[in-house]
Symmetry: D2
Subunit: 277 residues, 4 copies
Amino acid sequence: MARSKYEYVKAFEREDKLLPNTWIVVRVDGKGFHKFTKEHQFIKPNDVTALQLMNHAASAVMKEIDDLTLAYGQSDEYSFLFKRDTDYYSRREVKLASVIGSLFTAHYILAWSRFFPDKPLTKPPAFDARAVPYPSIENVRDYFAWRQADCHINNLYNTSFWALVLKGGLSENAAMKRLSKTVAKDKNELLFSEFGINYNDEPEIFKKGSTLVKELKPFMKESRVPRKYADPKFRVVRNDGLDHVIQEITRQETVVTELHCSIIDEAFWIEYPQAVQ
Amino acid sequence: MARSKYEYVKAFEREDKLLPNTWIVVRVDGKGFHKFTKEHQFIKPNDVTALQLMNHAASAVMKEIDDLTLAYGQSDEYSFLFKRDTDYYSRREVKLASVIGSLFTAHYILAWSRFFPDKPLTKPPAFDARAVPYPSIENVRDYFAWRQADCHINNLYNTSFWALVLKGGLSENAAMKRLSKTVAKDKNELLFSEFGINYNDEPEIFKKGSTLVKELKPFMKESRVPRKYADPKFRVVRNDGLDHVIQEITRQETVVTELHCSIIDEAFWIEYPQAVQ
Amino acid sequence: MARSKYEYVKAFEREDKLLPNTWIVVRVDGKGFHKFTKEHQFIKPNDVTALQLMNHAASAVMKEIDDLTLAYGQSDEYSFLFKRDTDYYSRREVKLASVIGSLFTAHYILAWSRFFPDKPLTKPPAFDARAVPYPSIENVRDYFAWRQADCHINNLYNTSFWALVLKGGLSENAAMKRLSKTVAKDKNELLFSEFGINYNDEPEIFKKGSTLVKELKPFMKESRVPRKYADPKFRVVRNDGLDHVIQEITRQETVVTELHCSIIDEAFWIEYPQAVQ
Amino acid sequence: MARSKYEYVKAFEREDKLLPNTWIVVRVDGKGFHKFTKEHQFIKPNDVTALQLMNHAASAVMKEIDDLTLAYGQSDEYSFLFKRDTDYYSRREVKLASVIGSLFTAHYILAWSRFFPDKPLTKPPAFDARAVPYPSIENVRDYFAWRQADCHINNLYNTSFWALVLKGGLSENAAMKRLSKTVAKDKNELLFSEFGINYNDEPEIFKKGSTLVKELKPFMKESRVPRKYADPKFRVVRNDGLDHVIQEITRQETVVTELHCSIIDEAFWIEYPQAVQ
């Protein structure tokens, strides 16, 4: 039942369902954020407000899509994990990536003025996205370990680099040269001996990035019920006419919790088993 | 030179370059716009301001990406055409789709308050995207003809449907039933005989959608040059000290032109050969 | 270092590595075997010699490719299982499918005259192939269960159909009509009441298909060693000059074992854990 | 209507239709032919009988599949071109590659003893295959030019290499060293000055490879027709009873023609326009 003779062009679309029974990770990455952060004068090496805005946008995406169970972000990127049996957008690779990229962009922009009330958004931020299937829990954990190891490596470098530039007075080129061929230990020593910075004391959000998990949290709400159906478990707050009472009942809601811990360590995965489903 | 032992997970990414030497169309589609338009009280059947906002966002995307040569939009969707030999994002399918989806989202939101000064954006709009390669100019033209034919079919239906509901006082269900099994001619007659609407007189932007092409337009600008290098072609506006003059010179810039014509007809493709490169 | 200016066309090839860390199944299927079996007068409903030839070809493929751990065949199809971490042909989908298809074809033809000494091969047999990744052991077992369930369903149907035609004197059309809408129980009763056939007594190779697994089997071989290094574990067969002896030693070799058991039942997978690696 | 609860595993198969409206090239390549040619003592640098066997197998594949319009072979590889609008195996990439690879293997083996009556086939030959879409005629021609340029480069090298080894008495290693860093001109001179070989006089089948095209050729056949319907265009050979005659009529059949010309030159494509459809 073609609606026009041109409809044949639809057949040029590729079917792109990701392999069933695999965990899908969607990662969004800032497009040209080197320039974007300069234009909007983000603090170097880490702008904590900008990171909080990223966390806010990611948290909104998590809340909106039930099948997401975990997210991890650092710098200008965020990774989202779908549960193994998700059928969101029929597991279509390009749809999953583009929708999450678009939603993330939307929440980032909508919340901008709340996080940066004094900084107008002069250039539109944009994010590319990709969707990758992982067939085992070990692969999934290694994926997130990969991103967190990357966070650590980049943050140690950036902390050293900007210390040399902002406190040491080196040019950016000189700082780069100074750091080339240094290993982690060298950078730790440089930070401590030259700038009195103990890298271990740096904020966890910088060193570990941000992890979002979902938790069920109880909450109280008042509910009006016919007196004869009042649940004895719950406290009666007051009467409402002759036949009804107002009870304070407990319900559960899904909340997104933000963490800045190691997700390479076993402990995280034991404490939050719901993160991989 | 892996940066960590976890980096092996990168190999699970699929290489997704689209076939070389083909034209690539990226189409963005509003996600859940039925609800979004209700929530933001868009005028039915067509909200011209909302269409102008779509055109604005698409135009900004066109300006930002040199390799885009044509765009066509209707309702809550917009299609973008890359030139045949583009190497934007190395022709990677998911990157192309997600970046254009994200950019479009960004410009849509950033311009919202300009187009709807009295309507706060209460829900984030989002767009999914796809990228499809077409191997011949005929296929490309048929793709755009497909979307425009779709626009016509939908608009005739929606115009009839909302006339029945808003002017005829029918319920939405009754209107749907009334229109089921009608063909184009029936709807034209219904509009005319019952509501005095001559469908042909409806605005072109509703019937034909919006087409964006790029054109080189000359523009004047003042330029300060040493007197001895002044170009006799251009008018001298004034002197600037002894040795310099200010000339009014002509340059060319790429502008995005918005059209509401048939792109099914040959005429469009003859007039704008630059639309398919 | 292109060897000619035409080499750019290589870039039109798709990278087709199958997802890492998944089990890969390659299935070969007879192309036009309805006609092929007619032309070569295969016995209906099952030609045991033809099945043995299939098993021979599959067994040869198993021996040739170390990373294959299991194969299952029925009718004109055979499925081969690669171990999870195989890097055979870099896991390239089309290479894996086409090489196994080609090898299977080669062994089938080369052994034909040994299995059918009185039947010349008048038409070339051909097989299509496909390669599919499975991310869990459960999926792998369900894949093979699927093929064996299919074998059962087809064989019960074919046994009934050819009984009606060959023993009952029905036309092929009449037999088809007679069997339409019958369920398994009906076919079992029809076979028993009309033709005295107890389906359960049919050969296992017909009802269950053929399963190939690899086993390490010890074998004896004579080995010439210096007398002083002779291994007391092994029997000395004879002397060879003054200083050497011939010993009968035991080694292990991989053999392919053919089974006709249920591979849906747990028991098979417990007995042959090496079948899925 | 699943036939068993295991049928869900079918959904793990990827849909692999190649882009519509593109020309598809399938290339088969000998698997481990270095060893295979040694084992079967092929003449070096070129075994003309082995090449003829390749041509025979390719020709049989061409005859069997109507939608193939061109084939080109050299060494142990053969490329087949499908016409642009083919729907053979629904354009499924893996099916196309595997079926052509299997058919080619079958014809190669079946004809072996005819081409090598004194050489038993002791090892099964196998071929891998791939299928690649090309969106323009220029790309298609460049693909075939690429393979023919490759043939030339390899053949010049091999002719020089085996002259050094077989006539010059060099070891294979020494010959390789001698040729490293030589360009085409050097090899031509080496062949001429040291071995009196004028490369230009080498057989075209070695220098250009083999090209197969399809042609319509008229052929005569006797036909029995009622006398009154006899076609005056055709000669009556004899009477057959009172009412019938035997006429010699002309029909057309598709034949596969083998060429050893340049397919890089324009001339070939002008002479055989049917090669790319």
